[in-house]
């Protein structure tokens, strides 16, 4: 039987996880192992675990619970060890690294900010500001049959979209980063143009959320942001 590893915490963390079930969907309880000056939060799982979304949710639920009593080091989803002894051994051997990492995220939480922009408003802005795009658009609408025209227009617009996304992302980063202790810019996912993680003192997310709300009120440019947090500090561990 393998064990799935959720988190590493300080030894004095209460780790109130007894009532939670782990990955695998078979009701396996979550357990706590003492490992040197640390604790590891684990559950038994099949050797050939083939994880599903429900398991990701279980992982997240364990970490959210741990967050309530002190910031843990979240282990990336899906790491398994051969058994309890193996976990104790490895965590103990790397105790210095873990303790330093725990000190960096102590009393902090991660906030993840994503932003996307309404396409219609963005395209209008581009056509408004680019005479060349406007001309191409007009020619196509007037029935020009040259197949290169839509391609040229599309390529021009795609470049403009990229440019404007980069600019908007820079502005949001500049506004939010001063409120955080640390930050990481992740590659945006899907249609988002911003994926920013911020490390913020856990009882002090207020200013960040207030700034977010202020940003959310501005404009009419069709920029939408969403914030998730407080989260376990996934982006701020080794």
């Amino acid at each position: 039987m393998a064990v799935h590893v959720y988190a590493v915490t300080l030894r004095d963390h209460p780790c109130r996880v007894e009532d939670l079930t782990g990955v695998g969907g078979d009701g396996t309880p979550v357990r706590v192992l003492a490992a040197g000056g640390l604790k590891a939060v684990v559950s038994d799982c099949a050797e050939d675990l083939r994880p599903k979304r429900r398991d990701v949710a279980a992982h997240q639920a364990v970490l959210e619970r741990l967050m309530a009593d002190g910031t843990p080091l979240p282990v990336r989803f899906g790491y398994t060890a051969a058994g309890d002894d193996s976990v104790r051994e490895v965590v103990t051997a790397q105790a210095d690294v873990h303790l330093a990492a725990l000190a960096r995220v102590r009393d902090c939480a991660e906030y993840n900010v994503k932003a996307w922009r309404e396409q219609d408003l963005l395209l209008r802005e581009i056509l408004d500001e680019s005479p060349r795009a406007r001309r191409l658009n007009r020619e196509i609408l007037a029935g020009a049959s040259d197949p290169r025209l839509p391609l040229e227009l599309g390529q021009l617009v795609a470049a403009e979209v990229q440019f404007r996304h980069t600019r908007a992302s820079g502005e949001l980063i500049q506004a939010l980063v001063p409120l955080a202790r640390a930050h990481v810019v992740h590659p945006p996912v899907g249609e988002d143009f911003l994926n920013l993680s911020l490390l913020v003192p856990r009882d002090d997310g207020g200013p960040l959320l207030a700034e977010h709300a202020r940003l959310a009120r501005d404009g009419g440019a069709g920029v939408h942001t969403r914030v998730a947090g407080p989260l376990p500090p996934y982006s701020f561990v080794p």
Binding site: V5, P51, P74, V75, Y79, N112, Q119, A216, R226, P230
Partner: protein, 189 residues
């Protein structure tokens, strides 16, 4: 600019309980970030990751260019974003509407475009494809009461054309199948 807080996530209530409503938004953090312990074995998360990879659109591709061009063609530039819709615009909105939401038209459509380009030439099949694709959302709109808006728009268009004056009775809006890009031809006598 609108703020979209994460549903019932911990932003709203800091209870720290299950946070599944925002799972989608934090999925890549859980899968791609977090402490890596080399001595441990990582199970394959390919099946889960695929869901995220699917959502990543390659921006620099011919199909995306064409989608962007189409999206531009559909905009009604004479009217501002909040101006009353004219008939072609109403149709255009219907085209982009449906489950995707008008704001995300071209990008969401990129995958569709890839499929289309794999299954056949775009130009000749296009009109037919448009009809099939958009017929259903059009009916939904009708059910939601967009009929009135359209009638108004039609009346406007008519006045501009030859000053016939508005129709006495709202037409029960038989849907005409037609590509949005062509100038609208009147079928009423």
């Amino acid at each position: 600019m609108t703020m979209v807080p994460q549903g019932a996530g911990p932003v709203a209530g800091r209870s720290g309980g299950g946070n599944t409503s925002s799972l989608y938004d934090v999925l890549e953090l859980i899968l791609d970030r977090g402490l890596v312990i080399d001595a441990f074995v990582r199970v394959s998360v390919v099946g889960i990751e695929l869901l995220k990879i699917d959502a990543r659109i390659v921006v620099a591709s011919v199909d995306t260019y064409l989608r962007f061009a189409e999206a531009c063609n559909r905009l009604d530039l004479e009217a501002g974003p909040n101006a009353p819709a004219t008939l072609p615009d109403v149709v255009g909105k219907t085209l982009e509407g449906g489950s995707k939401g008008k704001a995300k038209g071209a990008l969401s459509g990129a995958l569709e475009a890839v499929t289309q380009s794999l299954t056949g030439g775009r130009d000749e099949d296009e009109e037919e494809a448009d009809e099939d694709e958009y017929e259903e959302p059009a009916e939904e709109d009708e059910a939601e009461g967009d009929e009135a808006e359209e009638d108004e728009a039609e009346a406007e268009a008519e006045e501009a054309e030859d000053d016939e004056g508005p129709e006495p009775e709202p037409e029960p809006a038989p849907r005409r199948r037609r590509s949005s890009r062509r100038p609208v031809q009147r079928e009423r006598g």
